[in-house]
Structures are given as structure tokens and as C-alpha cells.
Amino acid sequence: MKFETGKRGLLINILSLIVFTLVWQILVILARNDIFNIPFIRLRDIPTPVETWYALVGSMFTRIYGPSFTYGIINHVYASLVRVIEGGIIAFIIGVPVGIGVGYSKFLGNLFNPIIEIIRNMPPMAWIPLSIFIFVSGGSIFIVFIGVVFPIILNTIQGVRSTDTRLIDAAKTLGASESMIVKKVVIPSALPSIMTGLRIGLGVGWMAIVAAEMVIKSPVGLGYFIWNMGDLGRYSEMVAGMIVIGVIGYIMNISILLLQRRFINWVD
């Protein structure tokens, strides 16, 4: 499949967003006026894009009403991003060496594969109840770690195993030691794959953090914000928070893709 690129592509992208927003607005308005309804869905209760926009602008920064100090979306985004980045860094530090070891050495592969295969099939959300009890703090970072580490490990393994054997053989012929082969041949060859793992992992981690913040206790974070706004029946703010999550996730993905293309350009 080939995507349109350049100005035409951008135009179509923007158009699709406009059409989506319009359809959303029209559907809600129609439902509110009892002209069109989807059975079993309270379409009329969904805030319109216009209401959502006002809610987004209104709750962007910290507000103070008497004693009550309501954190702005900016604070929530920051708190969630910090958690994802911390979880991501820990996952990277642990995931890459494990991936290289398991991918390169048959012995380590056989040793760790069953464990990795079992644990990676437990979704990050399944760890939430346990982490509530075992972590005094930082439970949400752990949830992100679980989300990020397995895509990194698996992609690293794949990257290491797909290293061109001719290159390894050539290095051996030239008298390179095992550690030099790993450092000079295997890692550079696996790097694009590792970055892909990081990108996928952070995507999973970002989604997991929102769920984790809904359950694990912290006064700031986008997940917490959405949950709280829902509790108060402030649905426009809630939807605004959801959209912010989507946009940040998208920006994160694109940013890593950009970095990958900019700095790791030796492999197609």
C-alpha cells in the first residue's frame, strides 16, 4: 500500500480530521434534537467538538477556586510523560542487553525464552492489581516498564538474529573477538530493530500508563484526570483529556520515527 506524500497527502490528512470533527458535531446535534439516534448509545451525552475545545482551553492550566487547587492538563501531561520516560529508560537499559544475550547466544536463548514468552503474554493491565500492593510508590512506572520492555526485547532478538552472517564471518576472519563482533557488527545491525521495539514499546507504555493512573494512586496524570472528570460529570473535560492522550501518543510515535530516520540511516 502506498500513501500519498507531500502537499497533497497533507491536505488529505487535514481534510480527514475536519470531516471527522464535522461528523462528530453533526451526530451529537442530531441526537440531541431527537432526529437520529443509535440504539443503546447515549449519543446526546457526548460533548460536541466545540464544547470539548472550550473545556480543553479552560482546563489547560492550574486553576484555583478558594481552597481547591485543580491541576491543569499541562501538569497531567507532564506527570504522565515523566512516568513513561522513566519506565522507558529502565526498560531500555534492561531490555536491550537481555535481547542481545538471548538473540546472540543459543544457550541464553533456550534459558530465557520460556520465561519471556510466558511473561510477555501477560498484558500490562493484568499487572495493575499486583503492583498496587507490592509497590509503595512508582507502581505506574512499573506498569510502563512491563509495556515497554517486551517489544524492546523481542525486537532486539529479531534484530540480532537477522544480522547478516557474512558480516560476522568476515569479522571473524579479520580476527575480531566475540565482544568486538557484538559491539561492532551485531548491535549496529540490530539498532533499527531496537528502535522499532522502543517505538512500539512506548506506544504500549503510553496506553498502559493511562490505565495504571486510573487505579494506582497519584494526584496527577492524564489517566487520573480523565477518571476524576468522569466522576464529576465533567464530560467535555474528560473527552478533552482523551484527545490529548491520543495526540501525545501520536507525537511520540512520530518523534521516534523521526529520530530513527535522522540518526540510524545505514539500514534501509
Binding site: 481552597p67 487547587f69 501538569n75 498496587i132 509503595v136 494512586k217 476524576n228 466522576d231 460529570g233 501525545i248
Partner: protein
């Protein structure tokens, strides 16, 4: 496309920097107390492990935490606001309109409330012959295994059946002051002010009827045709003990009302009861805190069909919430910069905590 990516990248950096600046800036305003939502069970556990510095919650959780030695009572809610209303009995307006004899049913619901409250208030005395039975009811409804905690939890709850329009007005005013209402929705509601809203929300007629008929024989005033009422309540909330007593002692049945526990009940908090139960038309009558009623009749209501419209017919209790703190905390000021558990936004405990913080000039983040 590359330019677009660069722009997006710049946006994320900008958010990060802005977030950094905001986060650094906020504590300087005055270090706020961090309210964090959690269940009552978790409050007790986390206070025990020292993860939180305190919590504000309905009984029996404060009594349990104190009995276990995890903390001490800092402020009883009666100190924050004497005789403040707490839980109430409310009906769903959709149910009210489509039921022919809804007024007759509600009169009898109010009468059960009156009888149960009188029973509890008598049985609360330790020399009352009913005292042991009341403690058993308290333990069953509150999910407790400890008699001492059950006794303690009853001590600071004032069970009442009458409603209080003036206090409700004050509550509405404070909720407005704290910026909790969705202002677009508030404007749609058409209420002129908090007193106008309180008068539309609370009705005393049913309690008046109950007072006038409290000595009548139940069989004489029972509904001719028994009706099923889908009833909702909050989980393990001692404030709603009058409902449990009325149900267990057969007061409802005697008056021709068959209680059916509503789908989803008992609810974790009043917000859920309003949003899922009353709004979703799965609850006919229910008990919950008055703030969720006040807030969600505005914020969660669809004003074209008033799906979240409810009316308050009777009280359940006044006071009965406590700020419990770790043993090394001596005042509200000590809680600054620390985490305090609460049952959720828009609950009575949330509003009370804000009121106390307001009195002491403290800030609360949530």
C-alpha cells in the same frame, strides 16, 4: 511531511518544558494537600503502611482504622459544620412520572425511614434491649468483624429522617464556590441561585405525612397492591443503616413495598449511583450523599429529557465522616504536601475537606 514531523516534535518539547515550568511553579503558591481517590479498605491499609498521611471517609472506615491503631481521629465532620446533612433518600424523576401511585409509595418510604431512625436512635443506647441487634446490623451492613469498631462507628453518626433545605442551599453554594459545577450545564438548568435549586431538589411533604401517620397501624396504611422498588445504596456505608434496618426488620414489606436491590448496587460512591443508576433508569429510589445528588443533577443531566433528575424525600444522617490521620500528625497544616485519601470527587467528604482547608487557609489539590 518532514516539516510536519518537526513541528510535532517541537510541540511535544514545548509541552514538556511548559509542564516543567508549571510543576516547579505550583508548590510556591502554597504547598497543597494532595487528595487522592481510593476505596475505604485501601485507606485503612495505606494508612497502616504509612503511604498516606491520612484520609477522610464515612464510617465505619475511620472507626476500623482507629481500632487497629493505624491512626487517630483528627476532625469529626460535625466540627467542620455542625449538623451538616450527609446521606439522603432520593427518587428517580422518570420513575416518579411513570408510576401512578408514586406519591403514595414515597410517603411510605419516608415513614420507613422515620421508623428505622427512631429504632436506631433508641437502640444506640448501650442499655437498650435492642442494642445487640443493632450492633449486629451495623457489623453486617458495614462489613465489620469487630464489635468495638461497630460501636465506635455509630457514635459520631447522627441518624435523621427530616430534610434540611437551608443546609442544602449552603452545600450548593459551596459546591459552586469550589468550581465543581459545569457552568454550561448550570446555565441550562435555569435555577436562579442556590436556594432556588435547593427548593426544587428537596421536598418535605413525604416526611410530614410520615410524622402524621407514624402511630398508625402498618396494615391500615399499607399499599393495597404491593410494589417492587429497585433500591440502590452505597457499599458498607454506616450512614445508610436506616435503609438496612428497614429492610431487615420488614418495615418496607409491612407497608407494601418489596425492596429489590438495583442492578449495580451497592455502588462504590454516590457519583456512580447517579451516573449509572439514576441516569440509566435502573434505580427507582436510592440512598446516597447529598453532594453527588446536587452535582450530577446538573453536570450529568441531559436537560432535554432530564434523565438525571432526582428528588430528595428524606434524610438518612447528619455528620458521620471523619478526617483520620497518622499518629504523628497533629493538625491540618501538617498534611501540607502529603497525600490524603478520599472517596472521590464530588463526594460529601471531598466538599467537607475543602471546607476545612478553606477555614485554615490551606490549598488542596485533586
Amino acid at each position: 511531511m518532514k516539516n510536519l514531523m518537526k513541528i510535532l516534535f517541537l510541540i511535544i518539547v514545548a509541552i514538556f518544558v511548559a509542564g516543567c515550568l508549571e510543576s516547579k511553579k505550583t508548590p510556591q503558591v502554597s504547598e497543597p494537600i494532595n487528595l487522592v481517590k481510593m476505596s475505604g479498605q485501601e485507606m485503612i491499609q495505606r494508612l497502616g503502611t504509612g503511604e498516606i498521611a491520612g484520609f477522610i471517609m464515612w464510617e465505619p472506615y475511620p472507626a476500623i482504622a482507629v481500632t487497629k491503631g493505624y491512626g487517630k481521629n483528627l476532625i469529626f465532620s460535625g466540627k467542620i459544620w455542625t449538623d451538616h446533612p450527609c446521606c439522603v433518600v432520593a427518587y428517580d424523576d422518570d420513575w416518579y412520572k411513570k408510576t401512578n401511585n408514586s406519591d403514595e409509595i414515597l410517603k411510605r418510604m419516608a415513614l420507613v425511614q422515620l421508623k428505622s431512625v427512631e429504632y436506631i436512635n433508641n437502640a444506640k443506647q448501650s442499655d437498650s434491649p435492642d442494642h445487640e441487634q443493632l450492633i449486629n446490623y451495623t457489623m453486617q451492613f458495614g462489613g465489620m468483624t469487630d464489635q468495638v469498631a461497630a460501636n465506635l462507628s455509630l457514635a459520631d453518626v447522627e441518624f435523621v429522617y427530616n430534610t434540611n433545605v437551608t443546609a442544602t442551599t449552603t452545600f450548593i453554594q459551596r459546591i459552586q464556590d469550589f468550581g465543581i459545577f459545569d457552568m454550561t450545564k448550570w446555565n441550562m438548568s435555569g435555577y436562579k441561585n442556590s436556594s432556588d435549586y435547593a427548593n426544587s431538589l428537596v421536598t418535605n411533604n413525604y416526611v410530614e405525612w410520615a410524622v402524621n401517620n407514624k402511630d398508625e397501624n402498618s396494615s391500615k396504611i399499607a399499599l393495597k397492591e404491593p410494589v417492587n422498588i429497585r433500591y440502590a445504596y452505597l457499599v458498607n456505608d454506616i450512614h445508610e443503616l436506616p435503609f438496612y434496618v428497614g429492610w431487615q426488620k420488614g418495615y418496607y414489606r409491612d407497608l407494601g413495598i418489596n425492596i429489590v436491590i438495583a442492578e449495580g448496587a451497592p455502588f462504590q460512591n454516590g457519583a456512580f449511583e447517579m451516573q449509572q443508576g439514576f441516569k440509566g433508569n435502573t434505580v427507582d429510589v436510592g440512598s446516597l450523599g447529598i453532594p453527588p445528588v446536587i452535582i450530577h443533577r446538573i453536570n450529568s443531566n441531559d436537560f432535554s429529557n432530564n434523565d438525571t433528575k432526582v428528588g430528595v424525600i428524606a434524610g438518612m444522617n447528619n455528620e458521620g465522616s471523619v478526617i483520620v490521620v497518622a499518629n504523628n500528625v497533629t493538625s491540618m497544616k501538617d498534611l501540607q504536601g502529603k497525600t490524603v485519601g478520599f472517596p472521590g470527587q464530588g463526594t460529601i467528604q471531598h466538599v467537607l475537606f475543602l471546607m476545612e482547608a478553606d477555614k485554615e487557609g490551606l490549598k488542596v489539590s485533586y
